[in-house]
């Protein structure tokens, strides 16, 4: 038994760091979002068993938080009646019998034929507090993740104009431009083509943006939650390109979404021919609306923004389109004041998800260090773990199957002696590229590269967590 302590809700004073005002505001916002999530837990902490103690979010009492929040919202008229059930999002509230062997359980198929998660499970994405909820993002709770797949309902989100509601029966994809025969495909048309399924991660290139200069957010959800891994099903884009007959000289394809942002990105035609896919399936069922229902573009290994959701148009051209999202955004200003453009590939990266920030180890003894590794360039070859601040590194075991451009689960058995420890992981992908330190990235790219950040995008540096003698775990980015 251990007593989980209240989370520390103080944050580093940033005023002494050389951080531009705009960046400061953004970081403050992220801090507030994380604080709210931690406060929700703080209100609920109580004694719990060992494993529970590692995650300071005891299950039974957390329910009352959601019940209270839902009731308050309902009273304020902001929720429909149905949402009053005191269950976490994605769950339904049922009475708990004293002995489940002495009463019949719920009726078969009484859920209408679509299951929900247990009312005792309440991990949720949390939202970055942007000024509008239409243009915003949410982060995947990586600390609670198991294996390599992200549940569809916990896949991170980034929207620029909200989540459109699209009837697939009236949605179509038009392919035109430098081709012999322009085509219009209904969703049903696309599903007639030979299909393929692949397990790929999608990572927002802004994942980790708060950590470029100093350790900042406390949890792995905050520092790394803009990556998720799903099985995607659809038709290879190469099949569609064959159908329309690409003309010589074609070099880029504009992908455009049917949301209010009418999101657009230019895609190199080599990528379109190789492993790009028009996906309609995610983890064995249709895409979730927030993931692009009814169809999205998949560009495995490329930064998340290029995976255009709610795809409505592909225009084949000889030049990139220089859209807002590939000029004013998603570009990295480096040392000489120039900005790197079309930085598509998400490079090798890893993070320890257990133990990670805001957890508490109940005492010396055995722990399984575990986490995720991935690379946009292919398979993870090795993951190495250090428990001495990077002095020595040891191979972690990788959970199979090790798939290209997919989250790969690593595990490392560890006997903690109770002394302060600095733990970290680094990923080596099949190209031989080894995940660098954050310092080495900043050294190459500079720290004045952006109006708001040292940089915003493409941080794949080594992440470390510091374990105190009391078992507390805190963000130690930059310390390895």
């Amino acid at each position: 038994m251990t007593k989980a302590e209240n989370p520390d809700l103080t944050y580093p004073d940033l005023s002494e760091l050389d951080i531009p005002k705009d960046k400061l505001a953004l970081m403050e916002g992220m801090k507030e979002a994380e604080k709210r999530a931690l406060m929700a837990r703080k209100a609920e902490l109580e004694e719990c068993e060992c494993r529970e103690g590692m995650f300071p979010n005891p299950v039974a009492s957390r329910r009352s938080f959601f019940a209270g929040a839902a009731a308050a919202a309902a009273a304020a008229g902001s929720l429909p009646m149905v949402a009053r059930a005191a269950a976490p999002p994605g769950a339904k509230e049922f009475e708990v019998p004293p002995d489940p062997t002495k009463v019949q359980g719920r009726l078969t198929n009484d859920d209408g034929g679509y299951g929900s998660r247990s009312q005792f499970e309440d991990e949720v994405r949390w939202r970055f507090p942007t000024k509008t909820k239409e243009s915003s993002w949410t982060m995947t709770p990586l600390a609670a993740g198991m294996g390599m797949i992200t549940p569809s309902g916990l896949h991170f989100e980034r929207h620029h104009g909200g989540i459109p509601t699209i009837n697939p029966a009236s949605h179509s994809l038009i392919v035109h431009g430098m081709c012999d025969t322009p085509k219009k495909y209904s969703v049903a048309d696309l599903k007639r083509f030979p299909s393929d399924s692949r397990i790929n991660f999608i990572e927002c290139s802004g994942n980790g943006l708060t950590e470029f200069k100093a350790p900042y957010l406390k949890t792995v959800q905050g520092t790394h939650g803009l990556t998720s891994n799903s099985e995607w099903t659809g038709v290879p884009l190469s099949t569609i390109l064959d159908e329309v007959g690409v003309k010589p000289g074609a070099a880029w394809i504009l992908a455009e979404g049917a949301d209010a942002a009418v999101m657009t990105r230019s895609v190199p035609i080599d990528k379109a021919w190789s492993d790009a896919m028009i996906a309609y399936g995610q983890n064995g069922e249709a895409l979730r609306p927030e993931q692009g229902y009814p169809i999205r573009l998949m560009l495995p290994g490329y930064e998340g923004n290029t995976h255009i959701k709610w795809l409505r148009r592909l225009e084949i051209s000889d030049k990139p389109f220089q859209t807002r999202e590939e000029t004013s955004k998603y570009t990295d200003v480096v040392k000489d004041g120039k900005a790197r453009q079309f930085s598509f590939t998400m490079e090798a990266k890893s993070v320890i998800t257990f133990p990670s920030g805001e957890m508490k180890l109940p005492g010396p003894g055995f722990y399984e260090i575990t986490g995720l590794a991935w690379s946009g360039r292919g398979r993870v070859k090795d993951v190495e773990v250090s428990t001495d601040g990077g002095k020595t590194w040891h191979l972690a075991s990788l959970q199979g199957p090790i798939l290209p451009i997919s989250h790969t689960r690593f595990r490392f058995p560890w006997m903690w002696d109770g002394n302060p420890a600095l733990i970290a992981s680094r990923c080596i992908d099949e190209t031989g590229y080894m995940q660098p330190t954050i310092a080495s990235i900043n050294e190459v790219r500079g720290v004045n590269g952006h109006p708001k950040f040292a940089s915003i995008y493409h941080l794949n540096g080594i992440m470390a967590w510091a374990i105190g003698a009391d078992g507390s775990v805190v963000n130690a980015a930059h310390k390895v």
């Binding site: 509008t132 495909y185 048309d189 900005a339």
Partner: protein
């Protein structure tokens, strides 16, 4: 439904994962295709083919002046981007002007004026996604006009400017040479 039996003549296409093989098969076999889908009409394509490219392709008909743009801006844009295009944090609207020459300095300020490499992007984005509360509602004339006004406030076109397909294509943005290709991997720590 067994998709592979539906179009047996395309077996080689299905089996060929690499596009090179697929293409040569198609060429040799005389353009065997699944043939699903329909042919969109020109009107159907035109209705959603709204992009404008940096070389001027895609600009629609229409025009607008700085003076007209000032009115459009006041009624449709100022609430979020500020009366003087300084941005409004509470509304989530970015600053549109200022910061010229600041990119890469500790006081880097990215705006249309200081950072955006092409005027086409300003027209394209405004047309497709603005104003935030009524996306895609501006007429082509209104987008030309408000582009003229923003470019004028950014000291890029003069106060008498009329923007249309031709004049927009000729605009040179201050940071047009500010972008380079992705050189990564930029850290050579291989094993």
């Amino acid at each position: 439904m067994n998709k592979k039996l539906t179009v047996p003549s395309c077996g080689a296409t299905i089996a060929a994962g690499a596009f090179v093989v697929t293409v040569s098969f198609t060429a040799v076999a005389g353009a065997e295709k699944f043939g699903f889908g329909s042919t969109p009409t020109e009107q159907e394509i035109a209705a959603i083919d709204i992009d404008v490219m940096s070389d001027g392709r895609g600009y629609p008909k229409g025009s607008g002046t700085v003076a007209q743009g000032k009115e459009v801006y006041a009624s449709k844009c100022a609430a979020c981007h500020g009366e003087n295009m300084e941005g409004v944090k509470e509304a989530g609207g970015a600053a549109l002007i200022g910061g010229r020459g600041s990119i890469g300095t500790p006081k880097t300020k990215k705006t249309v004026e200081s950072y955006w490499p092409y005027a086409s992007t300003l027209f394209d984005y405004t047309k497709r996604a603005m104003p935030f509360n009524e996306p895609g509602s501006l007429s082509n004339d209104e987008v030309y006009a408000v582009s003229a006004y923003i470019l004028h406030k950014a000291n890029i076109v003069d106060a008498n400017a009329t923007m249309n397909a031709e004049t927009m294509s000729k605009v040179e943005m201050p940071n047009k040479d500010g972008f380079i290709p992705d050189p990564r991997p930029d850290i050579f720590n291989y094993r």
